[in-house]
Amino acid sequence: MIELGKYAGTVLAAYGVSILLLIGIVWQTLAANARARRELEKHEKHG
């Protein structure tokens, strides 16, 4: 385990928040894309 010193909380918080936000936007992007594709395919099959 690497040593973060007295600023451990700060560094971890910064990394935590950023990674959460990044994961959030990536997840939202992929989910919306999958949904759009699914709906379109469903529609093209039936319609």
């Binding site: 690497i2 040593e3 973060l4 010193g5 007295k6 600023y7 451990a8 700060t10 560094v11 918080a13 910064a14 990394y15 928040v17 950023s18 990674i19 936000l21 990044l22 959030g24 936007i25 990536v26 939202q28 992007t29 992929l30 919306a32 894309n33 759009a36 594709r37 709906e39 379109l40 529609h43 093209e44 319609g47």
Partner: protein, 241 residues
Amino acid sequence: MSIWEYANPVKFMRVSGAVLPWLVATAAICTTGGVAWGFLTPEDYRQGSTVKIVFLHVPAAMMAINIWVMMLVASLIWLIRRHHVSALAAKAAAPVGAVMTLIALATGAIWGQPMWGTWWEWDPRLTSFLILLLFYIGYIALWSSIEDADSAADLTGVLCLVGSVFALLSRYAVMFWNQGLHQGASLSVAEGERMSAVYRYPLYLSMLGFLLLFLALVLIRTRTEIRRRRLAALQAREMRG
């Protein structure tokens, strides 16, 4: 073949579909690599371990600005040449830009606590970012509140144009208004003050990663938007027919 051919949605879907796997893979590698490398760099003698934040903060801050510029270019292409894909790309980029701005703000705020002893300071750099966030929010809100897709593209395009001018103006106004605490750009300054290589290379990698990540996200989101438009057209036609 001119570059405008890629603005044809069918062609765009084909090309972007072919490029995406590679893009996603390199983006994932560079981003995680850059961030992880950054996290493992040694402490700075002045800033302690907080220097590690730079590998998130700086790439995010740069992307936040560059994404707005890209949206401006895309809006102009839409307004002048009326290529739908470019309008949709601008729409797709905005949420990514807003998130980048948020990351820059959040990491900056968290960093500020130990460095300046405050979460938030009305420093010009910071303030301009807050204003940029406002522009992103307004832009996204306008897109989402207009029903007709082409009108929405036109109106947000005009807003992006006017907004860019005022974002720039605000930057100068804010600098006039308050002298700041924030660091100047250190990547470009004279050799002596330059960041040591220990920090420079992971930073480069992280910046590249963020850029690729953004490109991948924009491509995927543009594809989503195109599919949505297609679905809406099919549904509308069915109802009418």
